[in-house]
């Protein structure tokens, strides 16, 4: 287990940012820490990074109680990106890497390798203020992963990147993950990480309201609804093995959304439909994380 968070409480003057939050992050996975703004994500990340300490509760890193020696094994890219504006990029990256315990010559070698990889060849002597925002993000990303951290925490990783660069960075993150790094994404934009995450935890109003592997969460939110596309004429008379949720007539094909009636199977639906129409496509509609998220958050509000 890469990270084991147990009963964390963090109280700020006036409000409780984290209320008895526990979660587990397995080694080698991509983990999504999700939740609307103000849910407590940043507070939790700061505790993992030892920027602040919890009022109560414990964090275990690789089975050991979190301590200073773990700092060098974590890479953190905060939501609000920032670098020294007037410092040369190469120099700046060396400095940040050395703060993470990397040796100077080693840091320089790795920076050059990353520059090569991300097409940042002649950036060494440039200053941050001379770069575009997207370029600055690249530098920030390099500074996050330079010391080969075992755990990489990325807060809103793709905000500020143009689609092309976002894709490049995404590929790099996936490669780092393949090489063994555990990744935590923190975001309020579900759709950006849904396809990447193996597991998620959903925070809302300082509480964890949902967690687990993405697949099983989505499966648990299946509610026997299907999309069927067909051509032909179909009359609905109430004897079907399904309820009609939506009917979208089209020029060549028609689209319906259905929900299975109790104790009926997809096979029975097909048996019912096959003699009547020619089926083009049948697909189960599994709710997206976004839908689950909204549903959960709204439930939580009530």
């Amino acid at each position: 287990m890469m990270l084991s968070i147990r009963n964390i409480v963090k109280q700020y003057a006036g409000h409780r940012a984290l209320d008895n939050v526990s979660l587990e992050v397995e080694t080698g996975i991509i983990f999504g820490l999700l939740g609307p703004n103000g849910a407590g994500k940043t507070s939790l990340i700061r505790i993992i990074n030892q920027i602040t300490a919890p009022d109560s509760g414990e964090v275990y890193f690789n089975g050991e109680k979190l301590n200073q020696s773990h700092i060098e094994r974590i890479g953190y890219m905060p939501e609000e990106r920032g670098l020294y504006k007037k410092m040369e990029i190469g120099e700046q990256l060396v400095y940040l890497a050395r703060l993470k315990g990397l040796e100077k010559t080693n840091a320089e070698r790795r920076i050059k390798a990353w520059f090569e990889k991300l097409g940042m060849g002649d950036w060494w002597g440039k200053k941050i203020e001379d770069l575009s925002k997207g370029m600055q993000q690249k530098v920030q990303f390099v500074s996050t992963v330079l010391h080969n951290p075992e755990l990489i925490i990325l807060d809103e990783p793709f905000s500020g990147f143009d689609p092309v660069n976002a894709e490049i960075i995404k590929d790099e993150i996936l490669e780092l993950n393949r090489k063994g790094a555990t990744i935590i994404f923190s975001t309020h934009r579900m759709e950006s990480v849904e396809e990447l995450c193996d597991s998620i935890a959903l925070l809302n109003l300082s509480h964890k309201i949902l967690d687990g592997p993405v697949k099983s969460i989505r499966n648990s939110y299946r509610n026997n609804t299907f999309k069927v596309e067909f051509s032909g004429k179909l009359d609905f008379n109430g004897t079907e093995p399904f309820e009609l949720l939506q009917h979208t007539p089209g020029e060549e094909t028609e689209l319906i959304q259905i929900k299975l009636k109790e104790n009926h199977t997809v096979n029975e639906v097909l048996q019912y439909l096959i003699p009547k129409v020619s089926i083009q496509k049948l697909e189960e509609t599994i709710p997206t994380m976004n839908e689950i998220f909204i549903r959960k958050v709204n439930q939580n509000r009530k």
């Binding site: 003057a13 700061r46 990074n49 030892q50 920027i51 602040t52 300490a53 009022d55 700092i71 974590i74 953190y76 890219m77 905060p78 609000e80 990106r81 920032g82 670098l83 020294y84 504006k85 007037k86 410092m87 400095y95 940040l96 050395r98 703060l99 993470k100 920030q140 500074s143």
Partner: protein, 442 residues
């Protein structure tokens, strides 16, 4: 390598590489060089003063004939020519002056000096003084007063100050103590502000750049604050040391280059004093070269002691105040918001600074001066004003202990505010808020 050292290194190099630092470093020795250049010009100018000037006197009154005495480079001689003829002659000779004294010389502006070149102030002054002395002497004689007796009655006392020390009597030069005291007060005051503000700006920069979160995920906020304070402090120290080294070098070179002129000036000063006494019976202050005479008075100063004290009070005062400046920087989102916090911090500094001119430098041993020089917030300025005048050892020791305790205390307080403040955004900090941060657990 220790991470705090890394931070110190970055803060130091980032500032030392700046153009403004290099400019300031060479500005001060440059000013000293300029001072020597001015001294040189004055000395060179006094060469032209030394040129002999011939003053032909046309004395219609007969009162002054033969009584005007040659003085230094002014040579008097009487002339029987008529004024228009004499004027013609003077028009041809640049160093010839015609002094015309009519019968009714007591009338306003009746005594006149004619020359091709504008006569300088010293010459006119000399002529006027002599005329007045003679005329007054005559008047006194006419009134029955013995001039010789009278001048014997005049007293001219100037006290020489000697300080009693263990080694015996020591010349205590009050003027130089005064000068050094005031100069140190100004220098400490300015440098505490300049370098304190640099720390504050650095903290605000990191906060607004948002790099702070990246850095505190690698090091503790306290390490960052300490690294920044020490880094900037080393910049200040480097600046002062470079100033001392460069200034000494410049002084040595300049002294060698201008030695000839210096002696010339000194000699002329001496003859002037003698001449003044002889001719008029009055002591005149040497006009010569005020810069030179001030520098002469600085020769007896114990520089290692004063510089040592200065560096101690600069460093300890800087550590004390920059910690507070850092806390202020951490509490705000931009420099414009710093006002409300800056005022109480700068108040003791400003107060002591003003007081050092108005009171301390004149009363360096008063009890107010004592208390101000042991309270850490005011001690850097107050003690530096007192040091040139001599401070009892135990007072200096007490003050230094208080300074160390003072900066340890402010650093501790500032660190507690700083660690919370640097991660707070968009919250308008008040004193109540700062107090809350101070009591946060972690």
């Amino acid at each position: 390598m220790n991470k705090t050292l890394l931070i110190i290194q970055r803060e130091y190099l980032a500032r030392v590489k700046k153009k403004s630092f290099i400019l300031m470093t060479f500005l001060v020795p440059g000013l000293i060089l300029a001072m020597y250049a001015i001294t040189y010009l004055i000395a060179a100018n006094s060469d032209s003063l030394n040129k002999t000037r011939e003053i032909k006197v046309i004395d219609e009154s007969g009162v002054f004939a033969g009584k005007l005495k040659d003085h230094k480079n002014i040579h008097f001689s009487s002339l029987s020519q008529s004024l228009p003829e004499a004027k013609k002659a003077a028009n041809k000779n640049e160093d010839l002056f015609i002094l015309s004294i009519p019968k009714n010389f007591t009338d306003k502006n009746s005594v006149q000096i004619f020359s091709k070149k504008k006569p300088n102030f010293a010459l006119v002054n000399e002529v006027e003084t002599q005329l007045n002395t003679i005329a007054t002497g005559n008047n006194m004689a006419a009134a029955g007063i013995d001039v010789v007796k009278l001048s014997g009655l005049k007293s001219n006392i100037s006290a020489e100050t000697k300080q009693l020390t263990d080694e015996g009597e020591k010349d205590s030069n009050l003027a130089s103590a005064y000068g050094i005291g005031v100069a140190s007060a100004i220098l400490i005051y300015l440098s505490l502000f300049i370098y304190g503000a640099q720390v504050m700006r650095g903290v605000i920069e990191e906060k607004t750049n948002r790099i702070i979160e990246v850095i505190v995920s690698s090091v503790k906020p306290f390490q960052l604050m300490l690294g920044k304070i020490l880094g900037v402090g080393l910049v200040g120290l480097t600046q002062f040391l470079l100033w001392i080294v460069l200034s000494t070098t410049v002084t040595n070179i300049a002294e060698k280059a201008f030695t000839k002129h210096e002696t010339a000036v000194e000699q002329s000063n001496q003859t002037q004093i003698k001449g003044g006494k002889n001719s008029t019976g009055q002591t005149q202050p040497p006009i010569g070269n005020p810069v030179m005479s001030f520098m002469k008075s600085l020769e007896g100063v114990n520089y290692p002691y004063i510089i040592g004290c200065f560096i101690f009070y600069f460093l300890s005062g800087y550590l004390l105040y920059s910690a507070l400046f850092a806390a202020v920087g951490s509490a705000v989102d931009s420099e414009t918001e710093t006002q409300q916090f800056m005022f109480p911090i700068t108040l003791p500094l400003l107060f002591t600074y003003i007081l050092s001119f108005a009171f301390l430098v004149n009363n360096p041993d008063s009890s107010l001066a004592f208390w101000l020089s042991v309270i850490p917030f005011t001690a850097p300025i107050a003690m530096m004003v007192r040091v040139p005048f001599g401070v009892p050892g135990w007072q200096l020791a007490l003050s230094m202990v208080m300074m160390v305790a003072g900066f340890l205390f402010t650093t501790w307080v500032a660190a507690r505010i700083y660690r919370v403040g640097v991660l707070m955004y968009g919250k308008k900090a008040s004193y109540k808020e700062l107090a809350k941060w101070f009591f946060y657990k972690e």
